[in-house]
Symmetry: C2
Subunit: 204 residues, 2 copies
DNA sequence: AAAAAAATCGACCGAAAGTCGAAAAAATAC
DNA sequence: GTATTTTTTCGACTTTCGGTCGATTTTTTT
């Protein structure tokens, strides 16, 4: 009477991997049940539809990201670093070791969109807290924190997680982040080095 | 030997209307050929695939928006108003008279995403020009214009064209627009009235 | 051991995109 | 004005895919 939950997790894991490597739309239910060695009926015994399954897969992913983000929050690194840490930990699965691309560059728009939306929802309250921390410390100075955080998230996602990223975007992003939060010039400057470094690793 | 182009346009028009009112995914090729009173084979004589057709429908839409945007550019209204005018004219089809919704609110993500991307590509060079105009006039003061314009577009899209818009976003958006372009405080203030007005019309 | 509940099976269904060879219509050549 | 070639149209057929359903097996409960 709980073998069920194991199956469920097993299927979720298989689907997660297929969705990420080949895309949601390009993964058929048949492929999933093939890999899992089960029949159609069994699959639909656990999930009412493929899309509902996607929803659950995404939830899994968000949970993982959320944990990482919360972990960063609890550290004692400076507030600006926290913010950047949380934001960069939000790259859906891009930065993960083996899997990588094949997800949002080509055409996995549905999945990417859903992930992105939930990711922003999840990260907002955390970032609000961090920004408030920054305000108390005198590093930031602004009102309407939630709105500003939302825009920061929109901006970072649109700038970095889309295919149109250019090296020259960084300095503008830094500039605008500082002004958005009412920080002193240079507060976010360390971001440039960070990105330079990761670009080099990828040999871009 | 050119009846073909007429058919093509006819099909494009039918598809455009169906895509907009019912969504791309929810419109079947069968529905299109039903409305057009043609056979499957004829459809595929003109379009290699449904998705390619979407691409062409989108191009049509973009062209229309582009013309409107260019028209705004040629007027003699103040630069800040031009910018806002262009940006607001970019709402894919939202603001259009009879059609409206049923597009990006529910789940027409693929189409919305493609439109949005092309719209940004199209609008960037125009806005760059306008911002340069503003700089010459001393209204704006900034470097990296292309990058800043891109962010302005990302931000406006993410703020207004997504389902998460809140009244309180406006003032932050105004603030950040001004800072992004190096404008004086208040330069973009008129935006608030604009939005208030359109909200009222819709009875929100 | 019997009964009930949970889990599994796979043939089948319907919708939808896309194919293909043949035929009709139109344009061009002679 | 007829033959030939090109363009356009037709619709039955194929394939893929998400999803259904009643039957069957396995596991749990009593």
């Amino acid at each position: 009477m709980k073998k069920g939950e194991k199956r469920r997790q097993e299927l979720l894991k298989i689907a997660y991997e297929l969705f990420i490597t080949r895309g949601y739309e390009n993964t058929s239910v048949d492929e999933i049940i093939d890999k899992a060695q089960i029949a159609k009926g069994t699959y639909y015994y656990y999930f009412p539809s493929k899309e509902q399954m996607l929803e659950e897969v995404i939830e899994m992913m968000i949970d993982a990201e959320a944990e990482m983000a919360r972990h960063i929050m609890e550290t004692t690194i400076p507030v600006p670093q926290k913010i950047v840490g949380i934001i960069t930990s939000l790259k859906p699965l891009d930065a993960e070791q083996p899997i990588k691309d094949a997800l949002h560059q080509p055409e996995n728009i549905l999945m990417h969109h859903k992930v992105r939306k939930k990711l922003i929802e999840m990260a907002m309250p955390l970032l609000v807290e961090v920004v408030e921390e920054g305000i108390r410390e005198g590093i930031f100075d602004c009102d309407k924190i939630a709105e500003r955080v939302k825009m920061l998230l929109i901006l970072s996602d649109g700038t970095f997680n889309e295919g149109t990223f250019r090296e020259s975007d960084i300095s503008v992003f830094i500039d605008i982040s500082e002004k958005l939060l009412g920080a002193q010039r240079g507060t976010m400057g360390f971001l440039a080095d960070l990105i330079d470094k990761s670009e080099m690793e990828e040999g871009k």
